[in-house]
C-alpha cells in the first residue's frame, strides 16, 4: 500500500460519507466566524427555522470593521456598526461564544484561533474567509468558505466537498539573513503564480520550513490562498506542540498527552505520493517586494521592475502593462527607488508578536523618514498588543514615529477608516495588492515586517541587511 500524505490523512479522518462520484460529506471540527461573511448565513438559519448543530464548536469575533483607534466612542460608521452589532446579536441568539470589541482577547480571527488553542492539529477548520488556510500551519485541514457554506456548517457541522490534489512545495536549505517567512511565501507565489495551486491542497515541507517558528509557518500557510490553493499545511512537530501547550482551549493533562501522541502521526508518510512537487532552494531567496497588482508580480528588493515586452504570453503581458499603469511605475526602475507614502504593519499575515519584534528591531533608535506620511502598527490581537507592550515594542515604534493601534484587519482591506487615498503608495505587510484593496486608487507593495519598517525609516525600499 502506498503511504498517505498529511492531506490524505486529514481528509480521510473527516469523511462522514462519500458518494460514488467522490463527493464527500466532510465533518468540520472548528468553525470561526467574523462579522462580514456571517449575517446572511444566520439569516438563512432563521428563515429555515434551523439551529446551529454544535454552537460550542464555534468562535466568533468582529475584526474587519472595527476601529483601530480608541474604541471608547464605539464605531462611527453606522453601516459598520450595524454589522458588528449584528454579529453580537446573532451570537447571543444562537448561544455562540464571541470575543466582542471590548474583550482583551479580540483580534483578527486567524490570529486569535491559534492564540487561544481553538485551532488544533488534526482538525478541520473553516471560516468564511479565504485566509483560513493560515490554520493549516498546525497540521490541520483549514480552508475558507463562502457564506452559503457558513450556513451549511452552522446547520450541519459538515460541508459537501470534493477532494483536491496533493501539491508538495519543498523549500530546502537555510534562508539568508533578513529573509523571513513572508519572503519565502512571496518567492513561492512568484515562482508558481497565483493560480499555481488551484485545485490543490499544498503541503509545505523541507528543512527551511521545519526551521520556521509557528508564527512564520502561519505567515506561509496564510499566503497559500494567494497561490490559488484553498488549503496550505505543515506537518506537526515539537515546534507545534511547544506553541500549543497551555493555550486556553488546548487539551490539558492526560488528554494533552494522548492528543500529542495522536498528533505525532500528522505528517506525510515517507512513501506518500504527491500529484505535483515544486522545489525551491531557500538560499536563493532574498527579501521580496511586489511591484504590481497581483501577489505573483514580485521581485527581489535588489532587482528592477520587469519589462512587459519580455513576457511571451500576450494576456500576461497586458496584465503587466495595466499593473504598471495602475502602480505608476516604469519597467527597469530599481525597486530601491520606489518611495512609499504610507507604511502598514499588520494583518493576519504579519501581525503576530514575532512580526512586531522583527519590525521593532529595525525601528529601534531610528526615525521615520520625513517623506512618510504615516506608518501604523496594528497588532493582530489584544493579547499580541499586550505582549508587545510588555516587551516595550510599542515604545520603540512610538519613538520612531509610528502609530500604535488597537487590533483588527485595518488597512489590510480598508473596511474601517484606515485606508489609502487615491494614488498613495503603501509598503504593507498584508497579503493582497489587488487594485483598490487598501483604498480606491491605492497602490500596495507587499513586503515582510522588517522590509516595511526599513522602508519607513529610509523613505524608500531597501534591503534590510543594510541596517
Amino acid at each position: 500500500m502506498v503511504g498517505k500524505t498529511l492531506y490524505d490523512k486529514l481528509w480521510d479522518a473527516h469523511v462522514v460519507r462519500v458518494d460514488n462520484d467522490g463527493t464527500a460529506l466532510l465533518y468540520i471540527d472548528r468553525h470561526l466566524v467574523h462579522e462580514v461573511t456571517s449575517p446572511q448565513a444566520f439569516e438563512g438559519l432563521r428563515l429555515a427555522s434551523r439551529k446551529p448543530w454544535r454552537p460550542h464548536a464555534i468562535l466568533a469575533v468582529p475584526d474587519h470593521n472595527v476601529p483601530t483607534v480608541s474604541r471608547s466612542e464605539g464605531i462611527d460608521d453606522p453601516i459598520s456598526r450595524l454589522q458588528v452589532e449584528t454579529l453580537g446579536s446573532n451570537c447571543t441568539e444562537f448561544g455562540i461564544t464571541e470575543f466582542s470589541m471590548g474583550d482583551p482577547r479580540q483580534g483578527i480571527v486567524h490570529v486569535i484561533g491559534p492564540e487561544q488553542g481553538a485551532t488544533l492539529p488534526g482538525m478541520t477548520v473553516v471560516c468564511g474567509d479565504s485566509h483560513t488556510s493560515t490554520h493549516g500551519a498546525f497540521g490541520a485541514l483549514a480552508f475558507g468558505i463562502g457564506t452559503s457554506e457558513v450556513e451549511h456548517v452552522l446547520a450541519t457541522q459538515c460541508l459537501i466537498q470534493k477532494k483536491s490534489g496533493n501539491l508538495q512545495i519543498r523549500v530546502e536549505g537555510k534562508a539568508g539573513p533578513g529573509v523571513s517567512a513572508k519572503d519565502i511565501a512571496l518567492a513561492i507565489i512568484g515562482h508558481i503564480g497565483t493560480a499555481g495551486g488551484t485545485g490543490y491542497a499544498i503541503e509545505f515541507a523541507g528543512s527551511a520550513i521545519r526551521s520556521l517558528s509557528m508564527e512564520g509557518r502561519m505567515t506561509l500557510c496564510n499566503m497559500a490562498i494567494e497561490a490559488g490553493a484553498r488549503a496550505g499545511m505543515i506537518a506537526v512537530d515539537e515546534v507545534t506542540l511547544d506553541y500549543l501547550a497551555g493555550r486556553p482551549y488546548a487539551p490539558k493533562g492526560d488528554e494533552w498527552l494522548k492528543a500529542a501522541s495522536v498528533w505525532a502521526d500528522l505528517k506525510s508518510d515517507d512513501d506518500a505520493r504527491f500529484d505535483k512537487v515544486v522545489s525551491l532552494d531557500a538560499t536563493d531567496i532574498s527579501p521580496q517586494v511586489t511591484w504590481g497588482t497581483s501577489p505573483e508580480m514580485v521581485v527581489s528588493v535588489d532587482s528592477r521592475i520587469p519589462d512587459p515586452e519580455n513576457e511571451p504570453d500576450p494576456v500576461k503581458r497586458e496584465g503587466m502593462k495595466r499593473a504598471l499603469v495602475y502602480m505608476a511605475l516604469e519597467p527597469g526602475t530599481p525597486i530601491t527607488e520606489i518611495r512609499p507614502d504610507r507604511v502598514f504593519i499588520g494583518s493576519c499575515t504579519n501581525a503576530r508578536i514575532e512580526d512586531l519584534r522583527e519590525a521593532a528591531q529595525i525601528a529601534q533608535g531610528r526615525k521615520l523618514n520625513e517623506s512618510i506620511k504615516q506608518a501604523i502598527v496594528v497588532p493582530g490581537s489584544g493579547l499580541v498588543k499586550r505582549q508587545a507592550e510588555d516587551e516595550g515594542l510599542d515604545k520603540i515604534f512610538l519613538d520612531a514615529g509610528f502609530e500604535w493601534r488597537e487590533p483588527g484587519c485595518s488597512m489590510c482591506l480598508a473596511m474601517n477608516a484606515d485606508r489609502l487615498e487615491p494614488g498613495e503608495r503603501c509598503a504593507s505587510t498584508s497579503n493582497r495588492n489587488f487594485e483598490g484593496r487598501q483604498g480606491q486608487g491605492g497602490r500596495t507593495h507587499l513586503v515582510s515586517p522588517a522590509t516595511a519598517a526599513a522602508a519607513a525609516v529610509a523613505g524608500h525600499f531597501v534591503d534590510v541587511n543594510e541596517f
Binding site: 465533518y27 462580514v36 464548536a57 461564544t97 463562502g146 484553498r230 487594485e435
Partner: protein, 215 residues
C-alpha cells in the same frame, strides 16, 4: 435557490486575467447584512469614475465610458466572458450575489478560483470552464459581432453559437444536479443526520479533545 436549465443571452467580454473578488465587489459594499442589492456596485471601481459608497444613488454617478459593461452594445448581457483564474482572492460570496443581481447567470472562463467556483453553485450561477483556445475564439467573435449571443444548455452540457456550432463543456455531476434541480443542500445533508451523529460518537472516543467546548 433558483434552478438553472438553459439560458440564451448577450455576452459581455471582460478581457483581463486574475479578476479578483475585490474588483468584482469592493469591500465597502460588504458591510451590508443582506444578500441582494449588490448589482449596481458590480465592478464598482471600474464601472464608475467616482468613489462608490454604500447608500449612494448609483443612477446619478458618473460612468466610466471605457469600461465594457457600460457600452450600450452589451446592455442586458446575461453571460460574462472572462480570462483565467476568474474570482481569485477573497471568499466573499457577495461577488456571486453581485453578478446575479446584475443579471449574470453564466460566467465562461478558462479557469476559476476554487472558492468563487463553489460559491456560484450555491446561488444558481453556472461557471463554465473551457479551453483557452475556445475562450480566445469567443472573445474574437463577441468583439466582432454586435449583439452576440450564446445559448447554454446545462442538461446537455452544450454552448450553442449563433451559427449553430455546438461546444460541449464539462461539469461535475453533483454540481450539475444541484443547479438543474435548484437543490437546498443543507436539507440534503440533514437527511444524513444519523450518519453525522454516528461519526461524532466514533470521533469522540478517539479524540475527545475535539469536542471540548468553546465558551
Amino acid at each position: 435557490m433558483e434552478k438553472f436549465e438553459t439560458l440564451s443571452a448577450i455576452v459581455v467580454p471582460l478581457d483581463r486575467h486574475n479578476v479578483d473578488t475585490d474588483a468584482i465587489i469592493p469591500k465597502q459594499f460588504l458591510k451590508s447584512i443582506h444578500r441582494s442589492g449588490f448589482g449596481p456596485n458590480l465592478f464598482d471601481e471600474w464601472r464608475y469614475l467616482d468613489r462608490g459608497e454604500p447608500g449612494m444613488d448609483n443612477s446619478s454617478r458618473p460612468l466610466n465610458p471605457d469600461f465594457v459593461l457600460n457600452q450600450p452594445r452589451y446592455k442586458g448581457a446575461g453571460i460574462l466572458l472572462a480570462r483565467e483564474n476568474f474570482g481569485c482572492g477573497s471568499s466573499r460570496e457577495h461577488a456571486v450575489w453581485a453578478l446575479l443581481d446584475a443579471g449574470f447567470r453564466v460566467v465562461i472562463a478558462p479557469s476559476f478560483a476554487d472558492i468563487f467556483h463553489n460559491n456560484c453553485f450555491k446561488n444558481g450561477v453556472l461557471p463554465i470552464s473551457i479551453d483557452t483556445g475556445i475562450v480566445d475564439d469567443l472573445f474574437r467573435a463577441v468583439e466582432e459581432t454586435p449583439g452576440y449571443r450564446l445559448s447554454v444548455d446545462l442538461e446537455r452540457q452544450i454552448i450553442e453559437k449563433p451559427d449553430g456550432e455546438l461546444t460541449r463543456f464539462d461539469i461535475d455531476g453533483f454540481h450539475r444536479q444541484c443547479l438543474l434541480e435548484g437543490l437546498d443542500d443543507i436539507g440534503m445533508t440533514l437527511k444524513h443526520r444519523e450518519a453525522i451523529r454516528r461519526y461524532e460518537e466514533r470521533r469522540r472516543k478517539d479524540a475527545p479533545w475535539l469536542f471540548n467546548k468553546i465558551d
